[in-house]
């Protein structure tokens, strides 16, 4: 038993040391394994015909096309996506992953492909004005589990943080008055409010501009170069702008303005 375990361990380590660049692995396989949440409209979600769609899905498919491989999508809960990437279950996660120092310790990122900012969402009839997170001290704020918005709110002392599995539950609770505000991606807001038909409105943008990138396993310089080139080419030939305009009406590869 011990011998088998030892042999597996050695094999695993050796496999690691001799591993080819992710780009070679992907090309050889002929597919790019892409993980998305599938429950985060308008970035990754299923449409009325149960087709996986959204901004990130289109961007990821375009990147795969430019790597000359087929995209292979997997949907799963956000709480498992980065763990799965770390465990090598997929090649990339394309789901508005914020580029943070902490995540950079574990993954390498492509160049940023979306600029966005954190923005508050409040009830339509809200008369109080929350201009910054400091104004929300003593109030209840809803955020997504494991999101950078959760980290932002937790960093401010005195805010009662409510953590939700995903945006729909969060917005529902905001509409029913169980929380005072929700914090999410400014790009999500117009779509969510329109789609949710909930009495909500966009609040003030808070915090710095965040950049989103595509994370993948560390030490794959050829893969990084290829993905960055694909993104650059997409920006250069206008195909990125087209996808962006379709979903947001603006070019999100540039620094944002607040959502209305």
């Amino acid at each position: 038993m011990k011998k088998i375990l030892l042999a597996t361990l050695i094999a695993a380590c050796a496999g690691h040391a001799m591993a080819a660049d992710l780009l070679d692995t992907v090309k050889q396989r002929g597919t790019l394994k892409i993980a998305v949440e599938g429950t985060y409209p308008p970035f990754t979600f299923k449409d009325a015909n149960q087709q996986l769609t959204g901004f990130d899905v289109e961007v990821a498919a375009e990147v795969a096309k430019r790597l000359k491989v087929k995209p292979e999508f997997t949907t799963g809960e956000w709480s498992g996506l980065l763990a799965g990437l770390q465990a090598g279950k997929f090649d990339v996660v394309v789901n508005q992953v914020g580029i943070t120092d902490k995540r950079k310790e574990t993954f390498d990122f492509s160049q940023p492909y979306t600029y966005s900012s954190a923005q508050l969402i409040v009830r339509k009839n809200e008369s109080r004005v929350f201009k910054s997170l400091d104004d929300l001290k003593g109030k209840k704020v809803g955020v997504g589990q494991g999101s950078n918005y959760a980290d932002m709110v937790k960093a401010v002392n005195g805010i009662e943080v409510k953590v939700y599995p995903s945006a729909p539950e969060n917005l529902q609770d905001l509409a029913t008055g169980r929380i005072d505000a929700a914090l999410n991606d400014s790009l999500l807001i117009p779509f969510a409010i329109k789609q949710a038909k909930l009495p909500l409105k966009a609040g003030h943008p808070v915090g710095d501009i965040t950049t989103m990138g595509i994370p993948f396993a560390k030490n794959n310089p050829k893969f990084k170069q290829a993905v960055d080139k694909a993104l650059n080419d997409m920006k250069a030939d206008g195909s990125f702008k087209k996808i962006s305009a379709k979903w947001f009406g603006i070019d999100v590869s540039k620094a944002p303005t607040a959502a209305k």
Partner: protein, 219 residues
């Protein structure tokens, strides 16, 4: 009124998810019962080393959350070179978990059979295994059916946890529709109804098994 249309649109997706849920539940039930029986026998038979080993296993499985076990098996094991696809990983986690509970129910059933039954069997010249097989086990099974069913019905609902390893079972299917419609209440209620229906049909099965095992005890 709006709810009806919503449920109607969501139903095909949710039924497909429910099929996955049922598949997980049934496979884990069968494998779990087999494993649970072996574990119970090893403990009752006081097999040296193995009985301590399985006692440790039962304690670990009952003492840690299923969600953690799923994470360890799917996301943790690749760290030591063991790669499992989502479905086998989910089945493995559910089976290992439910088998621990089932083994304890079976052990309780076996302990509930009077000592005299053993003595009678052994005095007739039956071996330990024959006594277990022909005299004790049938009676133990009858005693353990209600608590076995408890674990198995829990298992149907526990399958919702495998949504964290990218399997679109009923729960994740429901969440995907909610993300598209932002209508949590009717859709979660719909999912609840489906889980309930699956559990209820299992309850009917339990009743039939109970009636069958009861036959020898009717007067």
């Amino acid at each position: 009124m709006e709810w009806a249309g919503l449920i109607e649109a969501a139903l095909p997706v949710m039924l497909k998810g429910a099929l996955y849920t049922l598949m997980f539940a049934v496979v884990a039930m069968v494998l779990g019962l087999l494993l649970g029986f072996v574990v119970a026998l090893l403990r009752v038979g006081k097999v040296p080393v193995l009985s301590q080993l399985v006692a440790f296993y039962v304690s670990a499985m009952r003492g840690t959350p299923l969600l953690v076990q799923i994470f360890v098996i799917y996301y943790g094991l690749p760290g030591i070179g063991i790669e499992l696809e989502p479905v086998p990983a989910g089945v493995l986690a559910l089976t290992l978990n439910v088998a621990a509970y089932l083994s304890e129910s079976l052990r309780g059933g076996i302990a509930g059979v009077e000592r005299g039954q053993w003595d009678a069997g052994l005095s007739l010249g039956l071996s330990w295994w024959q006594t277990m097989r022909y005299i004790v086990a049938p009676q133990a099974l009858r005693l353990s059916v209600p608590s076995l069913s408890n674990s198995l019905i829990s298992l149907i609902k526990d399958t919702s946890l495998v949504s964290v390893i990218t399997v679109t079972e009923l729960m994740l299917a429901t969440k995907e529709v909610i993300a598209q419609t932002f209508q949590p209440l009717p859709l979660y209620l719909g999912a609840a109804a489906l889980y309930w229906m699956m559990s209820a049909s299992f309850e009917r099965l339990q009743k039939r098994v109970e009636r069958k095992l009861e036959l020898a005890h009717q007067r």
